[in-house]
Each structure stands twice: as C-alpha cells, then as structure tokens.
C-alpha cells in the first residue's frame, strides 16, 4: 500500500539533510510502528508524506497504491486516502468543527466522484462516531480545536480519521500529552478502524501506546534512516533498555 524507497529529504531553507534514505513498506491491514529518539526524522517523514511545505525531496520515492505521493498537493493526497493525525492539532478560531469536518468529507467525496453527504446524513454520521469517542455535541460546535484540552484535540483527530475513512493512516505521536484514560480512548478509536483494507503507521516515542494499539511490525528510526525492523518485541526491548543498545548494535 504505502511504499517508501530510499527517501532523502532536506530542509528547503537550509542545507540540512533530515531523511537519509528511508525504506519502508506498509501493507494493507497492517499496523507498523516507528520508534526512535528525538530528532531522528520521524515527524519529518510524516510531514513529507502528507505534503507540508518547507521540505525538499532530493532522492527516492513515496507511493500510495502505486500513485506518486510526492507529486500531489496535500488535498490530493488526502483524497487518495492518506491521513495524518497531527502531533499538535492546529487551532483554527472562527471555523466551526462541524463545518470543517463536513467541508473536508464532501471535498474528498467530490474528488472521488461520490455524491456529497447531505447535512442530515452528515449530522447522523458524525454524532454516532463522536459518541464512541466520547466527544460531546458542544465540542463539535466549537471552533476547530480552540480551547480543547490535549486529550480532546487528539480525540478530535481520531474523529476526523473516522469520518474521512482513509486507506493509510499516519499517527504522529498521538500519545503525547495524553493521560492513561485518554490514551485508551484514542487507542480504542484507532482499533475500531483497523481492517484488512487499511494500513497504519504509528509514530511514537514510547512503547505505552503500543500496548493498546498492537503493531505487526516495529521499526527503529535513527539519524534519518530505519535502522532496525522487528516484531512487537522490539518495542519492549526499547522500553527496557532505551535506544542506546540498539544504536550501538547497528553502528
């Protein structure tokens, strides 16, 4: 599904190489986790895949179901089925959460040649999905992420994911800033979306989240590269011994 080959990325404004040849394939139905120390390039990878400005791809490729992601605008990538749950969801005063969600859902449907959801159908759907994430009606009415707690922001990201039903979900440190209960709620939301047609790339610092979202494959990223790949046991090893051992081993 998602295929990243030898991806090299530098900052557009300065001569700083961040990704130095990432190779990664996420198959449909699988959950891949990327762990790694600060500054290893994990968030950059998620931004480059979703099309944020400020990065320059100097080598390599990234495709989703064979389509070249790197050629597309962010909204085209979204319509193709790529979704990024932000580490820091953005507050947008003046834009209602509902209006935002409905505009996004219908914009994607339009690109895919599907009929737009009516206001009534949309409302029904969003209410049902919000309920399972314990998002109340008030949160839906408020401006996007404005005045939301850390937990509410992350739940709001998962609600967007549930509404947009992407093929490939990237979760960038979705566990950061969450208490145990909130993390469980978010994990339940993610697990509810797991199915055979959907791939996940879960970026995290800690093994904690992976107790709730069980990965099929765990990658360790360091210095702009995937340096080690293994099963869920790799996450446990990091948890117990830190990154130092693994990094020493690969070096």
């Amino acid at each position: 599904m998602l295929e990243i080959k030898n991806l090299h990325v530098k900052l557009e404004e300065e001569d700083k190489q961040i990704l130095k040849g990432v190779d990664l394939t996420v198959e449909a139905g699988k959950v891949h986790a990327i762990m790694g120390p600060n500054g290893s390039g994990k968030s950059t990878l998620s931004y480059v895949l979703s099309g944020r400005d400020g990065y320059e791809v100097t080598e390599g490729s990234a495709t989703l179901d064979g389509e070249d992601l790197l050629e597309l605008e962010p909204e085209e990538r979204a319509a193709l089925g790529l979704f990024l749950a932000f580490q820091y969801p953005v507050e947008i005063p003046g834009v209602g959460n509902m209006t935002f969600l409905r505009t996004a859902v219908n914009a994607q449907r339009k690109v895919r040649g599907e009929e737009e959801l009516s206001a009534a159908d949309f409302l029904k759907l969003v209410r049902a999905k919000a309920k399972t994430l314990k998002i109340d009606a008030d949160m839906l009415k408020r401006p996007v992420n404005v005045g939301f707690s850390g937990g509410e922001k992350k739940r709001n990201e998962i609600l967007q994911m549930a509404m947009l039903e992407p093929k490939m979900c990237i979760l960038d440190e979705t566990d950061s800033g969450l208490d145990v209960d909130a993390m469980k709620l978010v994990a339940d939301g993610v697990n509810a979306l797991r199915d055979e047609g959907r791939g996940f790339l879960v970026i995290t610092h800690y093994q904690r989240l992976l107790d709730h979202i069980k990965p099929d494959v765990v990658h360790i990223m360091a210095n702009g590269r995937i340096v080690k790949t293994g099963g869920p046991e790799l996450a446990l090893e990091v948890e117990h011994n830190g990154y130092a051992d693994i990094l020493a081993e690969v070096n």
């Binding site: 979703s50 605008e73 909204e75 979204a78 932000f86 834009v95 505009t103 996004a104 859902v105």
Partner: protein
C-alpha cells in the same frame, strides 16, 4: 483666523457648487454649519486626520463619474421583513418606499419636520455634528449639515416589530448625494436600523443619533458593490444612562470609503460597540475612523475592525478611546486587524488611547498578517482544496467582527455577501 490659501480656494470652489436650501426650520443650523465649514476649511492632504486617505475626490466641486453596477445578487436584507425607505441618488422615493407608519416609531422626511410636531428633530439637527467637531474637526460632516438635500427623522418611542431599512440606490453615474438623518430613541425604546446600497457616485451621509436613558439602537449597514463609488459617512451618537448602541458595517468594494463614528457615552453604564468587516481589491481604499468618548462611569465600548485586502488594496484604521476625568470603571476594547492576501496590499493603523481617569481597563491591538500557513496545511491535509481552505480562513478572520451582529438572520445575509465576494475571486 483666515484660512490658508491652500485650504480656502478648494473650500470655496466646493461651496460654489452647492446652494443652501432656503426654506425650513433647519435654516439656522445650516447657516451655523456653513460658518463652521468656512472656519475649518474642507479636508486637505496635509491634515493629520487625512494622512492616510486622500480627500481630493471627496471635496472637488463635481462628483467623479462612477459607473452604475448591476448586481447579480439578490438585494441585501431582502429576506428580512423590514420597513423600506428608499433613496435614489440621494432623493427620497415615495413610490419605492413602504408606507412609513409603524407602531412604536414616527418617521418623517427631513423637509417635513418643520410643519409637523417634530420639535426634537429641529433641536437635534446639526447639534451632535457640532459637538463632534471637537477635538478633531470633521468638515465634511458640517458641509453635510449645511447642504443636506434630503433625509429622514426617526423618532423611536417603542419597540417597532421590524427593522427600518434605508436603501440607497445608485442610478446616475454623476450623482452627488448629501443625506442627513436624525434619530431619537426614547427611554426604554429599541430599534434596528439597516442601511444598504451604493447610494450615488459620491455620497456624503451624516446620521445623528440620540439615545435616551435605557434606549437601544442596533445598526447594520452594507455598503454596496459599485466599484467606482465614493463615500464619506459620519455617525454621531450620544448615549444616555444604560443605553446601548451597536453598529456594524460591511463594505464590499468601492474605490473610496471613509466611515467616521463619533460616539459619546454621557450616562453611566452605557454600552457602545462599533465594528466593521471590509473586503477590498485593487484600487480600493477603506478608512474607518472612530472616536469614542467616555464621559460617565461604568461604560463599555468595543471597536472591532477587520479588513481583507488583496491586489494592492489599502485599509486604514484610526481609532481613539478618550476617557475623560471621572469616567471611572471604563471598559474599553479596540482591535483592528488586516489580512493581506498578497504583498502589494497595505494596512495603515493609528490606534489611540487618551485616559484621564485612574480606574479603567482599556486594551487595544492592531495586527497585519497573511493567511496562517499552518492552519492552511491542516485544512488541506484533510482534503479541503487550497482555495476553499483560504476562503474558510478568510471568513474565520472576519468572524470576530461579524459576530458583533446579534441577529442571526442579519449575520447570515452578511456572511453570504462575504462568501459571494470570495467566490468571485477564487
């Protein structure tokens, strides 16, 4: 003191193109206003108060030509049940207007106030304008008082069931309209005044509003789309104890617009909110000049102005809060912001506070910025196309000003206009 030559000749040239209406009980007020004009002189480029907006075309003897624009949108406020008072190029049109009777309010044409029992109007005409000449002269308002050709007097004694809507149609491309309205809201009475339309090629409008203790006046105005029109408007408002004045203005296009609001809080616990949203393109210049005087305790004032500018458009804001000695517990707020959609547009702001009381809370802020790139990426990453996302963020930027309007039906109408403007440019 004689005026300097640089002021005197353009002032006299303009005055020569006008004639003082002879009849009527406003004669004395008009002559006094004319004397004020001669004393102050019409605004010139070197006047500090006109530093950012060139007054030349507003004072030249003949109105510059302005093509009449045929709107492709339904008439503003058309879905709202309202009493319509129509002026065509600055002249009252009885045929196009509704019957002016409505419970809780008496409305008379300005020229008829003398023969009717409208003492309050005779006593108000030109008075608030004259008070508003200090400390900053506003000669175009005095010119208006002297030469106004038409207008209405609105006496609000109750709570009329629907808004009163002043509609200004523009049909002649050389029209030069001067309108003057006087409004008195009695104690405990409440009214909504709407205004819309481009009015004329050049429009000078003055409104004097006297709100008695406990009275409320809501004002929502939409200045029309005729691109070449020019307007200089003044609203002079005097507020009594526990009275409320809330005014919002939407401006879409127009080559030159100068809107002055002069508000005086004279009774305790009065509330004055003035706000505006404008969207402009190209050779558009929009100037909001506001002067709010707190002269009583426990009063609240808000100024919320938002401007969206593109293709070299210019936005101007001059806003002042004056807190007089003894006006304790004043709560004053002022924000002026512009969203610049390109590098060619500019926003010129002069926020001022002048405070002579020691127990007040006054805040002010002014910003200029581009679309927030992070928010834009967030929206796009959810599948919203770039143009739609930009439009959403533009409307969001204007929301704080639009939210000052209390009636949701009016908000809807205003937002529809803004969406129309954005859609035409996407």
């Amino acid at each position: 003191m004689a005026l300097p030559e640089a002021k005197q000749s353009p002032t006299e040239a303009r005055l020569a193109s006008l004639s003082l209406p002879t009849a009527g009980c406003t004669r004395d007020a008009r002559e006094a206003a004319l004397a004020r004009v001669r004393e102050m002189g019409l605004p010139g480029r070197r006047d500090e108060y006109w530093k950012y907006t060139r007054p030349d075309t507003l004072i030249q003897p003949e109105a510059p030509k302005a093509a009449v624009f045929t709107a492709d949108e339904p008439l503003m406020f058309d879905q709202i049940d309202r009493l319509k008072i129509v002026f065509v190029d600055g002249v009252f049109s009885p045929e196009a207007s509704d019957d002016l009777s409505l419970e809780g309010v008496q409305i008379e044409r300005l020229e008829d106030i003398c023969c009717k029992d409208f003492h309050w109007a005779k006593e108000l005409y030109g008075v608030l304008e004259a008070r508003g000449q200090n400390p900053v002269p506003r000669p175009l308002a005095a010119l208006n008082t002297a030469f106004a050709a038409d207008g209405v007097a609105i006496h609000v004694t109750g709570k009329p069931s629907k808004p009163i809507c002043l509609i200004y149609k523009h049909e002649s491309e050389t029209s030069d309209a001067i309108l003057h309205h006087v409004i008195r809201v009695e104690s405990g009475a409440e009214v909504t005044i709407l205004e819309n339309g481009p009015a004329a090629s050049r429009f000078n409008k003055c409104m004097e509003i006297d709100v008695a203790d406990g009275g409320t006046l809501h004002h929502v105005r939409a200045q029309g789309r005729d691109h070449e029109r020019r307007a200089a408007t003044h609203m002079f408002t005097r507020l009594g104890e526990k009275s409320v004045y809330k005014s919002f203005t939407l401006t879409v296009n127009g080559v030159l617009t100068r809107n002055e609001q002069v508000v005086e809080l004279t009774g305790d616990e009065g509330v004055a909110h003035v706000s505006g949203a404008c969207v402009g393109d190209g050779d558009f210049l929009h100037d909001d000049t506001v002067f709010i005087t707190h002269d009583a305790v426990n009063c609240e004032s808000r100024q919320v102005f938002k401007k969206v500018l593109r293709n070299g458009a210019t936005g101007v804001f001059q806003g002042k809060i004056l807190v007089k000695e003894g006006a304790q517990k004043t709560d004053g707020y002022q924000i002026s912001q512009s969203l610049l959609l390109d590098d060619d547009s500019q926003f010129l702001a002069k926020p001022e506070l002048e405070i002579y009381a020691d127990d007040v809370a006054c805040s002010h802020g002014s910003t200029s910025g581009a679309i927030d790139e992070t928010a834009l990426f967030y929206l796009r990453s959810r599948g919203v196309p770039e143009k739609d996302a930009t439009n959403m963020l533009t409307l969001a930027f204007l929301a704080e000003a639009v939210d000052e309007i209390e009636d949701p039906a009016l908000v809807e109408d205003i937002v529809a206009r803004l969406q129309g403007w954005l859609a035409r440019r996407s």
